[in-house]
Symmetry: C2
Subunit: 610 residues, 2 copies
């Protein structure tokens, strides 16, 4: 997005663009070119650093733009630290000296102008100069951000300044990697301008996600909790999109799910049922893609199939589950449990923070709580359930991979421990006469970290850690400690829990601390079906990308479906280091496009089974 | 307090007491007796365990009852674990089978009756039986408590049940030691019935402490904060006691201190001034002896000197400092800083939780904020300040020592650290990609414990430990951690602080956690004067007790006096394992008596300097 002061020959200035516009690139052209020609044609994607393209060329042929982008990003990651630093430093500052002096290249000038950086007020300009100085003093290189943001739309000045201030708090290594990722993203955006690629699926998904996010319980963020007016409006919007897309039937079931069915090819006798979807409710102050990606993406694909007059050899249900997050009633998976006929009617008596029983909230929304059981799908017909979901974690992001195949949804155990020692005077109690509940808690935190760090796919977290009414000068007499232990495999998780129980008992015995343990939750792991996982992996490999397999540490609607059918999941890369359940949750239209392409491929591979 | 079923010959039953009352014992008789006779005369102090007295006999001659008691307690501590367990098990249950069957000895029966245990309601009796069963199941021996409590007055059934329930939560080793301490206390009480000892000072101090505790800001506990009606009533009560005791002058100064002066022998020309005292304010829900012991004890001694017509060769000020704890205005040592002429007038503008400025609170109490400076003592005349104070810690208690000599009041550094990492999803963030602020905090807690455990007189505490808004399923993005580092010597403290700074920086760098440090407080250590410390040690040694020297980890008014004069402090044992700033803070009339005897001795030794 930024170019150094001397424009390189291949980067045409806007004035000369209409004269010297190069012929449209294709992957075939790139794959057949000499290394020199290849590098020349892609010059400027990575600023003043033709070595990136040169090294990527060695990985040809590329079967997709995604594979080309991955090869370039990999070349950057495999470069020396000095080369990486030089690449970063090849970029000018935002609204910096070069911009003021009119020395930016056409690309950079256009990108900065699109973000309005050429139209700052004097105060904003002063803010940007101060940020430039602070940032350079802290990290020793210029601040780099893809000012055409993750959706392809331009970031505003306000968004850029917010991101800048946030990144100033990064640790140096973290920010170094962030700068490289922004450079990859800039290259991706510039490549899209040169190499025509199908974009319709991705752009439609991103646009719908924006529209859906306009329905919120609160004006300032995205909060869409079960059965609120915003939630009902979101359901109506999804149903409307389904209708327009050409689904054969669209129904609201009694729990609030929206179920669109795209019927099988009439030539197929007694077709099977394949189901896909995800949830449309959100956490408070949540992200736009968590859940919703898995609803919108298959609607886009059905629209595509319908327009092409194509039918699959199975019925396809796309389900927008009404509730997964558990925000309003403390119970999760309400939508998917009703869809599979395993809804617990006791939950109808639960009340929200305002004292409204779920049964009454359903009636107020025009839904019939007595009809929930009848709304279940015919699970005997259900051949497979798959779910496309944003990863909500950093694994794909850190590996520069747009997608990954889920191996298993982790089983989890959650516990709350109350440790009790003796509160006493911080000044008068010698170290060897203490019964410090917080010191025991500290050992437990580190034991969890050590034990869970020793096994792949196992994670353990102490998220709650509190000395109640702690004072600086009082030795903690009590401490509250939570445990959240998850693994792709129940046995792995249970072995870790058992080891930690033993270690916690030993810590507390040695320190004369009593411990009371309450189990808050225990959920079984849901392994994915190897047969259909291979379809995902094959689809990814067909595009020349590594088919990275990873467990899902988060729970998903697919867990409930796993009780009645084989399941698979496709994860997409979660931007901003994997942040989710947060307005900073982000993904790109490019990744959405790729996920849609892969899903279409998956549906076709699944058809071979039918 | 309890005796086994078969009464031993020397334990006369009440019926036969008037017939077979033995001649009053004296220490001289005990010191001259054969070991057999010694053991026989003290039989029954430790139930069915003549070996305790036998072994203590080897430590004769005893120069005080305190030395005898310490020798017996030491014999118990030096016994084998089996002997100790047998001693504990020699005691019957409270309101247990033996009591029901009328099989208790006279001592036990009398003691249980005094606590009203022979007059339980059926419900209370059922409660006691359940406690007996629970306690025996948990610890394997009967519950033992000195039913004549620490003050010599009987405990009520309610108090006994509360202590029982509290002790049921003890760790096994802790409760084993507690049982031995209760047995020592029972022996002390029984010895008082047989060996006549001076008790007037101790009983007067304990009785006055009870009376003073009746003035409280709240009806249910002892809270006496600066300038409240209860606080003014306490001041008036102290002044009345001083007047009655025979002080030559009693004045309320402008900060609210009550200063009684007992003038020097008129024959002494230009006498020096010696000052003693402590504070009469309390923390919220505090103890009866913290501060107040050091006020009441010297009043008792002046009364004694006055009645005996004795004068010292120096003026003696007894000061009841109005404020030390800092509860109402967040500033500590208001009384002692005014007394030494170092009051900071900026504090007058401080406001309490109700918005009342200290200046206005003083005026409302009839005190003149403009006169605070004029109220200071003539520090040029001040030859020495000493303070008698309850230890507020476990050191003397654990060593079975009634008193100790303070070497130095610890200097302290208090800091608040704010750690920031990245909050992320507990399920989806692999262990090696986390920036967990609580894990860094855990390492810091253990680093403080390790570093401060490595040096005598150094203590370090993390009293505040909190993940703000922590959730079970979110990796902590922030954690608040306090530090309180104290040592008898500033250099020792500062070395520890410096080492911990380095270690905290390393922990946070390794984990990519940022840390913001705020220093809340830094106070210099106040070393005690060796010359006068020796007077205390000599006085203790003269009674045949070890003169245990220990630092004070807590701050005391003596810290402020140390700015202008040599200081010393005598600590008395703090019961209930050293609990203070709590209604469970307790001491015994026996220890108060000993401390008063030692202080009288100290005043006389100080006279040799005058």
């Amino acid at each position: 997005m930024t170019t150094p002061s001397a424009p390189t020959p291949s980067t045409a200035s806007p004035a000369s663009a209409s004269i010297a516009a190069p012929a449209p690139l294709t992957l075939d052209v790139l794959n057949a070119a000499s290394i020199g020609d290849f590098t020349q044609r892609l010059d400027g994607l990575y600023e003043h650093s033709p070595w990136v393209m040169e090294r990527a060329a060695a990985r040809r042929p590329f079967r997709s733009a995604a594979a080309l982008k991955f090869a370039m990003a990999t070349a950057v990651r495999e470069a020396t630290r000095e080369e990486q630093l030089a690449l970063i430093r090849a970029h000018p500052e935002l609204a910096g000296r070069a911009a003021i002096a009119g020395e930016l290249t056409a690309d950079s000038a256009g990108e900065q102008a699109r973000a309005g950086l050429n139209a700052c007020s004097p105060e904003e300009f002063a803010t940007l100069q101060a940020l430039n100085a602070d940032y350079r003093a802290r990290f020793g290189f210029p601040f780099i951000i893809a000012v055409r943001g993750p959706t392809g739309a331009g970031l505003t000045r306000t968004q850029i300044i917010a991101a800048w201030q946030r990144r100033l708090r990064h640790a140096p290594d973290q920010e170094f990697n962030e700068a490289l990722r922004q450079i990859d993203r800039i290259a991706e955006i510039r490549l899209a301008d040169r190499l025509p690629q199908p974009r319709a699926f991705g752009e439609q998904i991103m646009q719908w996600a924006e529209t859906l996010a306009s329905h919120s319980d609160s004006p300032d963020d995205l909060t869409c909790t079960y059965l609120t007016p915003a939630h009902r409006a979101a359901a109506a919007q999804i149903a409307a999109w389904m209708q327009a897309a050409g689904f054969d039937s669209v129904r609201h079931d009694a729990i609030g799910n929206v179920v669109g069915r795209y019927r099988a090819d009439p030539a197929v006798d007694a077709p099977a049922l394949v189901s896909t979807g995800s949830h449309y409710d959100t956490v408070r102050n949540g992200g736009k893609y968590d859940g919703r990606l898995g609803v919108l993406l298959p609607i886009v694909l059905v629209e595509h199939l319908h327009r092409a007059g194509r039918r699959l050899p199975y019925d396809l249900d796309v389900v927008a589950f009404a509730e997964e997050e558990g925000v309003r009633y403390g119970s999760t998976f309400l939508g998917s449990s009703a869809y599979v006929g395993r809804f617990d009617p006791a939950v109808l008596d639960a009340v929200d923070a305002q004292g409204i029983a779920m049964r009454d909230a359903l009636r107020a929304a025009g839904l019939d709580p007595e009809a929930i059981d009848a709304a279940a799908v015919d699970v005997a017909r259900l051949k497979h359930y798959f779910e496309v979901h944003i990863e909500q974690g950093p694994v794909l992001f850190e590996r520069n991979l747009p997608v990954g195949v889920v191996t298993s949804i982790a089983g989890s155990v959650r516990r709350m421990l109350t440790l009790r020692g003796v509160a006493s005077h911080a000044g008068t109690t010698p170290m060897n006469m203490r019964r410090d509940a917080a010191a025991a808690a500290a050992e437990i935190v580190l034991a969890v970290e050590r034990r869970c760090g020793s096994t792949p796919s196992l994670v353990g977290t102490v998220g709650v850690l509190t000395v109640p009414n702690g004072s600086v000068n009082v030795i903690p007499g009590a401490c509250t400690v939570s445990l959240d232990i998850r693994a792709a495999d129940n046995a792995v998780r249970d072995a870790a829990v058992a080891d930690l129980e033993t270690e916690i008992a030993a810590i507390c015995a040695r320190r004369q601390i009593t411990v009371v343990t309450e189990e808050l939750m225990r959920a079984a792991a849901a392994p994915c079906a190897p047969h259909e996982m291979a379809y995902w992996s094959d689809a990814i490999a067909a595009r020349g990308l590594p088919a990275h397999a990873l467990p899902s540490g988060a729970g998903h609607d697919a867990m409930k479906l796993a009780d009645v059918a084989p399941i698979t999941m496709l994860f997409t890369r979660c931007g901003n280091g994997g942040i989710s359940h947060n307005p900073l949750e982000i993904m790109t239209a490019d990744d959405a496009q790729l996920a849609a392409d892969l899903t279409l491929d998956f549906l076709e591979r699944l058809a071979t089974d039918a």
